[in-house]
Symmetry: C2
Subunit: 191 residues, 2 copies
DNA sequence: TTCATTTAGTAACAAATGTTATCGTCCGCC
DNA sequence: GGCGGACGATAACATTTGTTACTAAATGAA
């Protein structure tokens, strides 16, 4: 994770160093469950390599609702912050290299961050961006057809479409995998 | 707005006072446009009385994607923060009593807030909550049928259903108003 | 009041999407 | 190399949802 954070000014990066020490590097195979539904999140992960999904079980149907790739933090934020049972599970899709830390270490990091105006601004910005992302994605669910959503995904996150199995993408788009197949073939014929 | 904020500790409330002065009380009729699509947001509103919707135009179809009621802040946050054209319009549904402030006044308020640890925590909490809300709503779009979404709305925000015209609710749920009528009659028959 | 506008319900038909089942391919594992 | 499971495509049929058109009720303005 250290490499990726280097766009942060060196001085503030210095300040962060002690808080980054507790993070441990781990390697896990594909389909590893990092957090089970109903568990309370006690770990925080940073993805160095690989990809991960957040999902939940709905009447037996496994539904993916978010994907995470390299250089991203992953945790069930709500469970983590409030100490409540997680509504979602977190599972690797590919074999992953992760940096992992315990709750109290992350909290120390957050406190440190919030004391420094620059880092605080960075944190705020990060949260705002995440909120905007949800908003946009949400908007697209109201406004667009599944085909439009898929085409947008193809355009905005082509790597996701390449790396993630199609049935995960289908549930992420809110449609059945059969329908996604249909959409793909419709697009292919249209060209 | 002062009444509603009084669950904040008196000491911090004291500190806030000067920043609340610039807010002006205004009264506007129903269907008043507070921010047009494509405009840059320069005002920030606090709803004292009435309700408001955020919406956008999609190929001629007016789509509502969020409702705001008493004791809530309203602005196109993204436009406001980044000085970019707003993707959404903001419009009153009922006659409203609003408190209104300019961008620079709100920024002063935000700076003040971020300097005080308690207020900073409050701000963070607020943003987190908003993010969780989006997340949950988004989840419901992937997981639930329109009927389930409507029933949940009925259960969780009955007042919204009472006060807001049905075609706004329909577009908010991502369905046509005809279909919402069908759902309502289906529910009525089921009982 | 009267009239126009907005809003909601319903029917009929069209289009989109889900479900189930079947098949073929690919890939990891032994 | 063969085997089993995961994955994706396709077809057929069922269900959901949208669209258009019509009607009626509620609402607000003159």
């Amino acid at each position: 994770m250290f490499e990726q954070l280097r766009n942060i000014p060196p001085a503030t990066m210095e300040k962060l160093q002690p808080y980054l020490q507790p993070f441990r590097r781990i390697e896990v195979p594909a389909k590893t469950c990092l957090l089970r539904e109903g568990e309370i999140a006690r770990k925080f992960y940073w993805i160095e390599q690989g990809c991960v999904r957040a999902c939940f079980n709905n009447d037996g149907a496994d539904i993916t609702f978010q994907f995470f790739f390299e250089h991203t933090a992953v945790a069930s934020i709500e469970s983590f912050r409030k100490n409540i049972a997680s509504l979602i599970a977190i599972e690797t899709i590919e074999p992953c290299v992760l940096y992992c830390a315990d709750k109290q270490d992350v909290e120390a990091l957050l406190t440190a961050v919030s004391g420094d105006p620059q880092l605080r601004e960075l944190l705020l910005e990060t949260i705002f961006e995440r909120t905007f992302d949800y908003m946009k994605h949400f908007l697209s669910f109201i406004r667009d057809t599944p085909q439009q959503r898929y085409e947008r995904l193809l355009q905005e996150r082509p790597e996701l479409v390449r790396r993630v199995p199609q049935h995960y993408i289908a549930s992420y788009l809110g449609i059945s995998s059969v329908h996604l197949s249909r959409i793909k073939s419709r697009i292919a014929k249209g060209k």
